[in-house]
């Protein structure tokens, strides 16, 4: 029997060279099915962030292609690229909140750029902030929030448009164990609701507690791809 199912994401022989002596990514091939929860692990400098940059079209591969639902995202025109990014929610290690906007405005900004109406924004933003347990601090600016709270705002921003894919780049890297646990639980919940999640981390505890698919990268190459993986480096 031939499986005709199109993967959501497909990395086809992707290589990224920043300088000719070192490969940030070296012939990377893998695919992600819809509603999967994938963790990408590796030491610092292994190529995890580069891989995500390729996926967000922040950077182009030197050779190879990255497909999102069979479209090569690096050949998309600017207007379609913006549309693609609206379908992806992104969470970063350093939160990347807009410093001059309140928690509410940070989340509503993602809805505004997605073309949502004021009415939708007024109803969905408090709901998203409620999901991450930050309803009471929605009018606080990022500098008035703790690291864990900032990350929860970033998660609310990432999920508020009900994206098809969440990319979380070391989201627990700057958090204490309690906040780390909270963030991972929220990501699991998002995935259970049907959103594909790609998580990069080098937190062994997080990976082992998830028990989901794990791709291990070392020196730009995929060295393991385990369906129910553990943190092995």
């Amino acid at each position: 029997m031939v499986d005709n199912k199109v993967p959501m994401i497909y990395f086809d022989n992707v290589t990224k060279i920043y300088n000719k002596d070192s490969f940030a990514l070296d012939e990377v091939n893998f695919s992600v099915e819809p509603q999967e929860f994938i963790s990408i692990v590796g030491h610092s400098g292994a190529g995890k962030t580069t891989l995500l940059k390729m996926l967000l079209a922040e950077d182009k591969p030197t050779t190879g292609n990255v497909f999102f639902e069979s479209s090569d995202i690096h050949t998309l025109p600017k207007s379609k690229l913006a549309k693609f990014r609206k379908r992806v929610g992104t969470i970063f290690q350093d939160f990347k909140l807009l410093p001059q906007k309140t928690a509410y405005e940070n989340v509503s900004f993602a809805m505004e750029v997605a073309g949502r109406t004021d009415k939708e924004i007024e109803s969905d933003v408090p709901h998203a902030l409620n999901l991450v347990d930050l309803e009471e601090k929605m009018w606080h600016f990022p500098h008035e929030l703790s690291g864990g709270e900032k990350q929860r705002v970033a998660i609310a921003r990432a999920i508020v448009n009900q994206p098809d894919l969440i990319i979380a780049d070391e989201p627990t890297g700057n958090l204490d164990p309690i906040n780390t646990y909270d963030v991972v639980q929220i990501l699991k919940k998002i995935n259970d609701l049907g959103t594909t999640v790609i998580l990069t981390t080098h937190n062994k505890g997080v990976i082992d507690s998830l028990g989901r698919r794990v791709i291990t990268i070392d020196q730009g190459r995929i060295v393991r791809d385990d369906k129910h993986g553990r943190y092995v480096l």
Partner: protein, 313 residues
């Protein structure tokens, strides 16, 4: 959706103008100085033009006609001269008027008046006083008059003499001074405008450099270029509005207190009490529109270009 987005962009630009208070203040300060400099150029240009016009008005050439020249011939020549494109105005003084003015001028000088009475006929000649549009055009007019004189009928010219040739050197020098003043003023204006634009552009670029990470995040969240650039452009426009207002307010005390110092040729002027403040008040609309449009355009264009640098994520 267009109006909703426009409203959101305007609101966001407005809010970030106030939230980035320190950056806004720095940009406004630099822009106010820039606009003040640009406005001062308007003033100094106007004053210089006024002074140069005063100088130009001091220059004319007079054509004296032979005694006994028919008035109709002189008036015909006046008409011919007025038709020349270089000529601004021609004033006719008949020999009687010349005599009248002479008497008026020397009314306290009995000796001269008596000497005049001794003469049987009016010794003064009719004349045309010619003013050109530009001082450099006097030579052409004088040459034209020379030609007229040579071509006159019966080989009897009615022109006695043209005083240009006696005053040629002075007129040429004056022409040189006027031309140089205008040229150097133009150069100074261009230089100052270029410097001002560069300073403003640099200040706004630095202000937006602070927000480069923010721009990147906006793009990653899925914002289109205009949605990212819009609020910065709105803030830039607001810098322009506030700094133009500041510059216009600053002009009042400056024109009032320092105005007289800026008048370069006041000793020549018949209106020595020329008042910069009055000039500012009477030309307020023009100055207001120039300062505001320069301010707003500078703010908007600088912001647009500065954000453009960081937007290609």
């Amino acid at each position: 959706m267009f109006w909703v987005n426009t409203k959101r962009i305007l609101k966001s630009g407005f809010i970030s103008f106030f939230r980035n208070g320190f950056v806004s203040l720095a940009a406004i300060l630099v822009m106010s100085i820039t606009l003040f400099a640009v406005g001062s150029l308007l003033f100094s240009g106007a004053l210089l033009e006024d002074s140069l016009n005063e100088l130009r008005n001091k220059v004319d050439i007079n054509v004296y006609f032979v005694t006994g020249a028919e008035e109709s011939d002189v008036l015909a020549m006046k008409t011919t001269l007025e038709a020349l494109p270089e000529v601004r105005e021609v004033e006719y003084t008949s020999s009687e008027e010349a005599l009248e003015r002479f008497r008026e001028k020397h009314r306290d000088d009995q000796l001269t008046l008596q000497a005049l009475e001794e003469l049987e006929e009016n010794p003064l000649r009719a004349s045309l006083s010619i003013r050109a549009k530009e001082t450099s055009q006097y030579e052409g007019i004088a040459n034209f008059l020379e030609g007229e004189s040579a071509l006159s009928v019966d080989s009897q010219s009615i022109i006695d003499n043209v005083n240009y040739f006696q005053n040629k050197e002075a007129i040429d020098n004056l022409t040189g001074i006027i031309d140089n003043s205008e040229r150097s003023n133009l150069m100074k204006t261009i230089l100052l405008v270029v410097i001002s634009v560069l300073i403003t552009f640099n200040t706004i670029t630095l202000a937006i450099y602070n927000s480069r990470e923010e721009i990147r995040v906006m793009k990653l969240v899925g914002a289109g270029n205009w949605y990212v650039q819009g609020p910065f452009v709105v803030s830039g426009g607001m810098y322009g509005i506030v700094s133009s207002t500041a510059a216009l307010l600053l002009f009042y005390p400056v024109t009032q207190w320092f105005g007289p110092m800026f008048y370069p040729f006041s000793f020549l002027s018949s209106t020595q009490d020329i008042n910069l403040l009055a000039y500012y008040s009477s030309n307020f609309t023009e100055i207001f529109l120039t300062t505001f449009s320069v301010g707003i355009l500078l703010g908007i264009i600088s912001s647009y270009l500065a954000v453009k640098r960081y937007i290609n994520v």
